[in-house]
């Protein structure tokens, strides 16, 4: 399993090949569509992340200190963002998730288009995953 930094590098290399915003978003949306589907029964209110304009669900599990999650959103753009987080953070040690500097979103400028919303969805999603990582570590991972 490659590390988070390496995955971020891969992602930014992929996006660098795309000429304009439309292509970048098209790619992002495809990533969302390609993400493994979330089990419908996991889409319950307790898995809803608050602070997002659209609905986002995360079902996070901790196995031997490793964070494993499924996620979905009713917005295809947000789902693309979620898929990026999934690519970067799924199956990673909780410790790494906590320490990771997620610079790729900033670097790609993708979030600029959607972060002017009252509550910044990405921040809320990352905070949610970090909180889960803290719990996971506390369980003696």
């Amino acid at each position: 399993m490659p590390g988070i930094q390496e995955l971020q590098k891969d992602l930014s290399d992929d996006f660098a090949l795309l000429a304009n915003w439309e292509e970048k978003y098209e790619y992002l949306i495809e990533m969302g569509m390609d993400m493994p589907a979330m089990k419908p029964e996991s889409k319950v209110d307790e898995n809803l992340v608050k602070g997002c304009q659209s609905s986002v669900w995360f079902d996070v599990k901790c196995q031997d200190g490793i964070l494993i999650f499924e996620a979905d959103s009713d917005s295809l753009v947000v789902k693309g963002m979620v898929a990026m987080l999934h690519k970067l953070l799924n199956n990673q040690p909780a410790k790494e998730v906590l320490e990771a500097e997620l610079s790729v979103f900033e670097e790609l400028g993708l979030w600029r288009h959607i972060s002017s919303q009252r509550s910044n969805g990405l921040t809320a999603m990352v905070a949610h995953l970090r909180a889960e990582a803290v719990d996971c570590l506390a369980k003696g991972g």
Binding site: N20, W21, E22, Y25, Q53, S54, S75, L76, I114
Partner: protein
């Protein structure tokens, strides 16, 4: 000589820029309009040449600034055809104007058991202040619903009016659906029951009829920033007899006549309602925006915007799976829509990547969205500088987003 509407676009410097590598297509005018260069210049000029606190000093700058501020009031009064200049009160905007009335009118005229009528088409700014006032006063908050066309039912309205009704608050144009409400008829019916009417003109004053005397509005409120003027300035118009009868809203400097430890006497209109240092530069800027608007022939302007709206609605209605909300017989400035299977939010984000600015979501009208059983809409909204090309780009953009998302 009136100004040619097609020449307007060149007056707005912000429209010349590119956004996300595309020439900006600005279709979020119901949220706020852009400002012509003359308005921007007026703000700079005020701080460059004129700045002083008004009504307070007798040095030259103070006198000139006061004159400019009062001239702006007269311009606005002229624009809405107020009978008296002192019926025009400067506020921060529509929301503050409505709160001003909800607090003062509520305190003076609304008792437990009384009723206030708003409509289901209101912006939260013309809904929540009344709901809260009713809660404070123990009054009943009544809501006139809209029908399947997005129109108000006047027969029902007439039945809701009774001897307990104290006030009606209604917009002239709905910011979510664009419905033009039959304001003169609403006012006539309310007056037949001796009930005063507040008209929320935030989405109408810059587009359609805005003569407070001919519609016989008791209170008429709007925001400068939605009519090509600066942010931070708005208008509360009230008939003199009402303004005299109402208690002050905010208290402090400017609004008093004399103060002793025991009591104060309040200043005359309009100052009674303008506590503290007002937004002088913005008021002057609003006056300049009014001058700008008055260059156009009002009927020609209205016709231009109506044609543009019809053109845009027609272009959108040709797109498969696109739903346009409401079908009022008279609509102004607003194109509210969704595409089946596509989140309004996604539509907005992706249009933005093409340089097209629209708004998505509830537009501060949750009661409307709830009634339509939707979480929100995409809303394109027009101003006088928009043209057919803007709407063609919107329709093309929507088709491209559909292609991107529906594979």
């Amino acid at each position: 000589m009136t100004k040619d509407i097609h020449s307007a676009r060149a007056d707005f410097p912000i429209l010349k820029q590119s956004v996300n590598d595309h020439p900006l297509v600005y279709l979020d005018n119901a949220a706020t309009t852009q400002k012509p260069q003359v308005v921007i210049d007026a703000l700079v000029d005020y701080y460059t040449r004129l700045n002083a606190n008004i009504h307070r000093g007798n040095h030259s700058l103070a006198v000139q600034a006061t004159e400019a501020y009062e001239r702006a009031r007269r311009k606005v009064a002229g624009y809405i055809n107020a009978e008296r200049n002192h019926e025009v009160i400067f506020t921060r905007g529509t929301t503050e104007s409505i709160n001003l009335l909800a607090y003062t009118y509520g305190e003076k005229f609304v008792q437990a058991g009384d009723e206030v009528i708003v409509t289901q088409l209101e912006h939260h700014s013309n809904y929540v202040p009344w709901q809260q006032m009713c809660l404070r006063r123990g009054a009943t908050f009544r809501i006139l619903p809209f029908n399947e066309h997005g129109e108000l039912d006047l027969a029902l309205f007439e039945r809701m009016l009774n001897e307990k009704t104290r006030l009606v608050a209604v917009n002239h144009v709905s910011n979510s659906l664009g419905t033009v409400n039959p304001i003169e008829e609403i006012i006539r019916l309310a007056h037949a029951h001796e009930v005063p009417v507040l008209v929320d003109a935030a989405q109408s004053v810059q587009h359609i009829a805005h003569d407070v005397q001919s519609m016989d509005a008791d209170f008429y409120v709007f925001s400068g920033h939605k009519m090509y003027g600066p942010m931070g300035i708005g208008i509360f118009y009230g008939k003199e007899k009402w303004l005299e009868a109402l208690p002050p809203f905010l208290s402090g400097g400017e609004m008093i006549d004399s103060v002793t430890p025991e009591k104060v006497t309040f200043n005359v209109l309009p100052y009674k309602f303008e506590a503290g240092t007002p937004n002088v530069a913005q008021a002057i800027g609003l006056g300049v925006a009014v001058d700008y608007l008055k260059q156009f022939d009002p009927l020609e302007l209205q016709k231009y915007e109506e044609d543009l709206l019809a053109y845009g609605l027609n272009l959108l209605s040709e797109i498969p799976d696109l739903i346009i909300y409401g079908s009022p017989s008279h609509r102004s400035g607003i194109l509210p829509f969704n595409v089946n299977g596509i989140q309004h939010y996604d539509m907005g984000v992706l249009l933005d990547t093409m340089g097209i600015a629209v708004r998505t979501g509830q537009h501060c009208t949750q009661p409307i969205m709830d009634a339509l059983h939707i979480s929100g809409t995409v809303r394109a909204s027009l101003a006088l500088y928009n043209n057919r090309e803007d709407l063609e780009k919107l329709a093309d953009g929507v088709r491209r987003v559909i292609k991107m998302l529906k594979r």
